[in-house]
């Protein structure tokens, strides 16, 4: 069973690359049920991620902020895996493009099934960048 350590081993993985991995103290992510904060020795859990911001506070160094595009989260024995088809770190996000995308999606709201998804995606990106600036 979990050796009672006080850090989490986190892996943030996109379909085509390993985005971030390392030891962390807190992971905050949004599942389709709402926000979850994961501290060491969290109970094993498997849940689906929403299109939203992920915050990882590593043991050393600055906070890692990223957006996930769906995917899922699994926690077991102080191992946290965050998987998503697309993961963008805050420093990789193009904010202007996200704002443009947000406007485009808002116009199409109601006529396009994807619009809600696109809005959530763009908003998550903008929020991630803002958080990154303040961090």
């Amino acid at each position: 069973m979990a050796t009672s350590t006080d850090t989490l081993h986190v892996e943030l993985v996109a379909a085509d690359r390993l985005v971030w991995s390392g030891e962390a103290e807190v992971v905050v992510a949004r599942t389709i049920e709402g926000d979850v904060g994961i501290l060491p020795n969290h109970a094993p859990m498997l849940s689906l991620l929403a299109e939203a911001v992920i915050e990882i506070s590593p043991s050393e160094g600055p906070v890692v902020i990223a957006t996930a595009d769906g995917g899922f989260l699994s926690v077991a024995e102080n191992r946290v895996s965050l998987l998503s088809e697309e993961v963008l770190l805050a420093e990789e996000i193009n904010v202007e493009q996200a704002y443009v995308e947000l406007e485009n999606a808002k116009v199409r709201l109601g006529e396009d099934d994807d619009a809600h998804l696109r809005i959530r995606r763009a908003e998550a990106q903008i929020r991630a960048v803002e958080k990154y600036k303040h961090a």
């Binding site: 069973m1 892996e11 993985v13 996109a14 379909a15 085509d16 690359r17 390993l18 599942t31 389709i32 049920e33 109970a43 094993p44 859990m45 498997l46 849940s47 689906l48 769906g70 995917g71 899922f72 699994s74 077991a76 024995e77 895996s81 998987l83 088809e85």
Partner: protein, 308 residues
Amino acid sequence: MAVSLREYRARIKSTESMKKITRAMELIAASRIIKAQQRAQAAAPYARELTRAVSALATYSNVEHALTTEPENPTRAAVLVVTSDRGLAGAYSSSVLREADGLVEKLKAEGKEVDLYVTGRKGEAYFKFRGRPVAQSWTGFSDQPTYEAAKEIGALLIDVFLQGAEAEKAAKPAVDEVHVVFTRFQSMLVQKPTAVRLLPLEVVEGVDAPEEQDILPLYEFEPSAEEVLDGLLPQYVQSRIWFALLQAAASELAARQRAMKAATDNADELINKLTRIANQARQAGITQEISEIVGGVNALADANSAND
């Protein structure tokens, strides 16, 4: 003699320029294959974590899901054949197509109808030439597949599979099984065409039977095991297809590199041979000219001495 010498020289020249082309293709394939292998490696963590989660789900919950349920009477199967867009890769495409044909024969012998789904222009052309209908084909990414492509293919295949229970309202006929035929990259020298069944899913891969002393984590599923499974399994299927596409890309490049290396070596050999023949022809020409001159001089000398 002089004419054939010119011909030989022309052939040497054309072989040389052909050699330059095959050599360039060999080098391009060699450099791309490293990239393809790196991409396959980069995709490994995702596949690993996904497999881990799916097997956790399969082990700790007894939820039945449409994607994992065996249909009672399978009557129709879909086969996804992964081939290349371009030729000049030796037996790459033909061996994967042969494997696919074998699988199709086997499925037909079991009394199932087969729908073909093809990626790559070579496969498309193969079935078109033989007048065999292809349900859907995708082209243009065989040596550098994108995840979007895998996602699109996966979504369509899941779609035709899940229709099985419902009405035949969609464009493509529903299927009870989905198979994939692709080339597995084992090493630079060995690439093996492989056929695997994708759906219904068998999630046992890479999971050892839990040992008794290991206390398995009892997962909480949020919001529920069914919903997590709903979200997870399609991603798992897509990741399997992505894996197949990446393996096929690496295999295609390895096969091309090998074929082009053989072509370059053959061109070298041909140039050597032709150079030798050309030299012989040149020498023969010179010898003939000398004997003609000597003969002419002798004839002149004879004529002069006769006049004197």
